[in-house]
Symmetry: C2
Subunit: 416 residues, 2 copies
């Protein structure tokens, strides 16, 4: 190992952390403090506050359906503004810094505009600048394809930029600096005594991200896991340590349930009396996939009459498209009615420990039953259990389950 080489930290700041000039100055002071602790520092920033949404609004005033390539050209400007302003803020307090677009540091992606995937990053230019003692600032969320066209990585894509840079720069840690202090056992707005977790495994975080905990983009967690990039989720504005996301270690298994999540952003669709013959259900989900609808939970019960009800959940944002597609296909599969229901919430418990322990489902269902909360759908994976319930019961449900698994602060954790 080359001992001259300083250790690298990649820090990512989201849009709320750089929402205005004062906050940008805060980030600059924080970055300098980190550098003074002896690190080489690379900072990834998102667009200022609501910039991206404002640019999208402008686009929609011009075209109802703008081309994805031009959308990327448009919205990538948001991050470019952020990096320039942060470089200025660092210079202003005497710290040499240099800003780069995704293109300038060779973040090469495929050509799937608005949801591109990173194919390669050439760290040369960043390393050169770090050697000069500069803080390097990279525009998050964006890259360039092989035709030199600007691409973007999808919502939350700055997380992906940070994780990918941490990987190629062999960073000691990738810090995701945000407006919460870390990952909690439940949303603190719903559960007052929710506890900040010191650490969590990639797998658990991945389930939580998919389940509605909006701390980090799910795909970035997946990539971090694949390349074993340690992630530290922490507050942009306070000094304390947050939550480490890292490989599963054996003591993690001692904890049955790590956290409880609630997702109110899904809707339930029920297709009634589908003919119970091979190919009918697959036809339904084929057309949904083709329409780009993200189907989540699927339930089909045993049929005793030759036909059956199929229920599934989709993001509310996809509901209009789902309706259109399902209505078109319904007669072909013999369906006799379709019901849509937006008043649902998906409550989930996540924990690596449940792999090797039983009784989690019983405890969760029991907690809900004790509050007379009806379970409408159930879906499980190796490390999570999800229940669909009425949306207006979500708050009470998450508190009951949180308490049942002893997740709140102060008390000993309950083992399975």
């Amino acid at each position: 190992m080359n001992m001259d080489r300083k250790r690298v930290i990649v820090q990512k700041y989201g849009g709320t952390s750089v929402a205005d000039p004062e906050k940008i100055k805060c980030v600059a002071r924080r970055a300098v403090a980190c550098k003074k602790r002896g690190y080489d520092l690379v900072i990834v920033v998102s667009a200022l506050g609501r910039t991206t949404d404002e640019l999208l609004k402008l686009a929609n005033e011009i075209s109802a359906n703008p081309a994805d390539r031009e959308l990327d050209m448009l919205i990538s400007t948001g991050e470019q503004v952020s990096v320039a302003l942060l470089a200025m803020a660092l210079n202003e307090i005497g710290q040499e810094a240099i800003s780069f677009t995704g293109a300038q540091v060779g973040i090469i992606t495929d050509s799937s505009h608005t949801k591109a995937r990173i194919m390669d990053i050439s760290p040369r230019r960043i390393s050169e600048q770090l050697k000069k003692g500069r803080i390097v600032i990279v525009a998050g969320f964006q890259g360039i394809n092989l035709d030199q066209d600007i691409t973007t990585l999808g919502r939350g894509g700055s997380d992906m930029t940070a994780v990918a840079l941490a990987k190629v720069l062999k960073a000691e840690v990738c810090e995701i600096c945000t407006d919460v202090k870390g990952v909690y056992t439940a949303d603190p707005r719903l559960v007052k005594n929710a506890r900040k977790l010191d650490s969590i495994s990639y797998e658990e975080m991945l389930e939580m991200a998919s389940l509605g905990a909006q701390v980090m983009q799910a795909r970035s967690v997946e990539v971090a896991s694949k390349f074993n990039v340690p992630i530290h989720v922490r507050s942009s504005f306070s000094g304390g340590s947050g939550t480490m996301i890292c490989k599963e270690v054996s003591e993690m298994e001692d904890v049955l349930v790590r956290a409880v999540t609630v997702n109110k952003g899904e809707a339930k669709v029920t297709v009634c009396n589908v003919i119970d013959k091979p190919g009918k259900a697959s036809r339904l989900f084929e057309v949904l996939a083709k329409a780009g609808v993200n189907v989540d939970m699927i339930i089909q019960n045993v049929s005793r009459t030759g036909s059956t009800d199929i229920s599934f959940t989709v993001p509310v944002a996809d509901l209009a498209r789902t309706q259109e597609v399902v209505e078109k296909v319904s007669s072909g599969i013999g369906a006799e009615g379709i019901r849509f229901d937006k008043d649902i919430a998906k409550l989930s418990v996540v924990g690596i420990g449940m792999r090797s322990h039983s009784g989690v489902a019983a405890k969760m269902f029991g907690a809900l039953a004790s509050r007379k909360i009806n379970i409408e759908m159930i879906s499980t994976s190796e490390i999570k259990i999800s229940c669909v319930i009425r949306k207006n019961a979500a708050g009470e449900a998450v508190r009951a389950v949180h308490r049942a698994f002893g997740l709140h602060g102060g008390k000993k954790r309950v083992k399975g």
Copy 2:
């Protein structure tokens, strides 16, 4: 000549022409109409309305003196937003179009950030897209240096982008589409019966641009002249033809004075009793040049006492810097006092015809005298005469001179 090759037009739209979505749609319709007349079309756009100023304001909230490289990174986003939105507007009305940043079409500049000069343009990507029948939209005002850093070309730099593209693409004409109908014999806000000129020579336009007519960036006119790129200054929103800027043709010499301009953006500086020895005056202007002050008119009268007063004009924006520099150097050159005067206006007459005709100065001074307007400084070139007068006399002065040279519409032009 390859007859398959379509004729190319480059159109440039300034910030006021793309200030909001409605205006961008207007520009799109106009572009399609032009393309339907059988041209290959390349459009250069500036940033929306006041975007550049807003970005600069943001920068100044963070740093009083931001690095030029970061300023360019910041303000170049304005044009990137414009090109994307215009491409969407064209697509929306069924016209294929593609947007490019300066970097993407290989506009290579030197590294003088915020006032870079174009060194090279590779037209390959534009030509490819034109062949596909697309309208190509290029971000004005910006380029990239050999290190891949984004540069900008200075205020009015989108004109330069348009002229440079017209040159490399061998365009039939470079249209400068703006919020006026063309180049006038005088500012129509000051002189009601000012007349729109059908044509004007590069040299005349260059003098006028330097003298305060804000139709076009002076440096772009110079480059257009050097490469003989025909320019058409016309309205963005009405169909009529505007003013052609082209090479001097013999009949142009028949017109003594083409136009009268007023520049209220300069200040007069007088350094009193400078020792009249070789090197003293040069020392003064040396330090001003080093400080980047743009000195315009310089007057020094014959000395009869061993010392003399030197007067010169500078842009009001440079006045603070001028004051600082002159005060520092004044004792070294024996100066006994410095006077600064912002209440001046520079009135100029411009015309290729005055090269070969005399009597212009007499007529101009006579027109001013008849209104009892005092002349404080005089400066001449081959094709212009400028007088410094009191600022509050500017309106009356321009009308008097405009009338004296018979420049108003309806009447025959007066020859010298």
